[in-house]
Symmetry: C2
Subunit: 228 residues, 2 copies
DNA sequence: TTTGTTCTGGTCACTCTGACCTTTACAGAA
DNA sequence: TTCTGTAAAGGTCAGAGTGACCAGAACAAA
């Protein structure tokens, strides 16, 4: 008699949201648990896997149910299955990580049992969710440096200063504007639209958009997941 | 009621084995299916997840049951869960990939229903296992270039020529011996034992061993998996 | 017109890499 | 013993990429 193994799907959702001082910070939404185990603790949004749905679809659906948002980027993070990770029995969790656009995140649902936290200042979470978020943070920061996922936080067009700000917030370090420009242009990831943004008390920056024809160089044969 | 989802664990096992001409080639062991679906087709070794065992332990156990070997390296590859990947019902497979030492692989079990195949010349496999092996191959080749996993194919001590040969076989391209030496030495991954190998009709090469005190720089917070 | 700001293009030193060359040290043949 | 073939080991050199830094360009506001 193989004892039952519960299969769950959870998602680490990243967004850039303004903090109390108005500065954008990397944030994730959490859900307060309303029953044992870990009743009252905050946890990643998720739930049981659905037999009729792909795992990625389940992750996106749970994301929408808790925040009202749709992900601009969604990728599987890891499958966590240690025997003792849940006191209520054996639970294997397939965890995804997602990026949502900054302008959409402002409209995100927030209520009694759903709240946003700064990604680097989390309380003690239910289960092994602190470990999971830590791993997701590492993957986000690592992937940001060799892949081109930062634009998932932005709209269809953006300035290089906006793109650089995303990198600076996520990587938590200042970047030289001139060198950043050189690297982005060398990667051919971005093309100028020809338009400029006026209104600033300085030289008007160019508007760019991502060049979707250039392949992402990271997912190997599993390119079906990724940018939507 | 939520229909059942079967949770399985499979492993892509890599080893370097001599081909008909005696040259080492990257190979994987496969198991012939003895029942539907895909009866008669070759498939990755694996089976149902065990409720009392960690996923990695299950992967290692299945590996031992089919080949009689123990992995020198074991890492989770991906969790495959598309609804239509098995005609017999919904199956979610947590897939691991493993490296076994070349000298051990020579002793591996091989029988009616277990056989080794060259990794790049596989027949049509059961389920989505061709896709899985392709992804595992991509991960192995990618990771070999920035991490230090090649020594998992070798014994505790080795020459730089042996280490280079592992890279050349896996990456399928010749490497400049002098440049390879420079890069390995710069990485500080390896330390000379002071011994030399005699017998060759040339200058005797130094013996090296891996410096276990130098951390792997790839797994993020999940360093529990990996080299054993 | 002046000033403050950021955008944008550029230089320079340093590091890393691939290509290639030379010397060293052995085994085996002459 | 000497010669020869082979691979180890150590080095040079040009080109690419990066971080640090500088300077002109182009706007809004004073």
């Amino acid at each position: 008699m193989s004892a039952a193994i519960d299969l769950a799907v959870s998602t680490v959702i990243f967004a850039l949201r303004p903090d109390a001082a108005g500065h954008l910070v990397l944030s994730i939404p959490l859900v307060r648990r309303t029953r044992d185990p870990f009743e009252g603790r905050w946890a990643l949004p998720g739930g049981a896997a659905d037999a009729a749905e792909s795992l990625a679809d389940t992750a996106a659906r749970k994301l929408a149910e808790t925040t009202g948002l749709s992900p601009a980027y969604l990728e599987q993070l890891y499958c966590f299955g240690e025997p003792d990770r849940s006191p209520s029995g054996r639970v294997v969790s397939v965890v995804y990580w997602a990026l949502v656009r900054t302008d959409e995140a402002e409209l995100a649902a927030e209520g009694e049992n759903v709240a946003w936290f700064e990604a680097d200042e989390l309380p003690q979470l239910a289960f092994d969710h602190n470990l999971i978020v830590g791993y997701a943070l590492w993957r986000l920061r690592t992937k940001l440096e060799y892949s081109r996922i930062a634009h998932a936080f932005l709209g269809p067009t953006f300035t290089l200063a906006e793109l650089r700000q995303v990198h600076e917030i996520v990587l938590q370090k200042p970047l030289d504007p001139a060198n950043f420009r050189r690297q982005i242009e060398a990667s051919r990831a971005v093309v100028p639209t020809g338009q400029h943004v006026t209104g600033g008390r300085h030289r008007p920056p160019r508007l760019y958009r991502y060049d979707a024809s250039v392949q992402l160089v990271d997912n190997g044969p599993l390119t079906s997941a990724g940018i939507r």
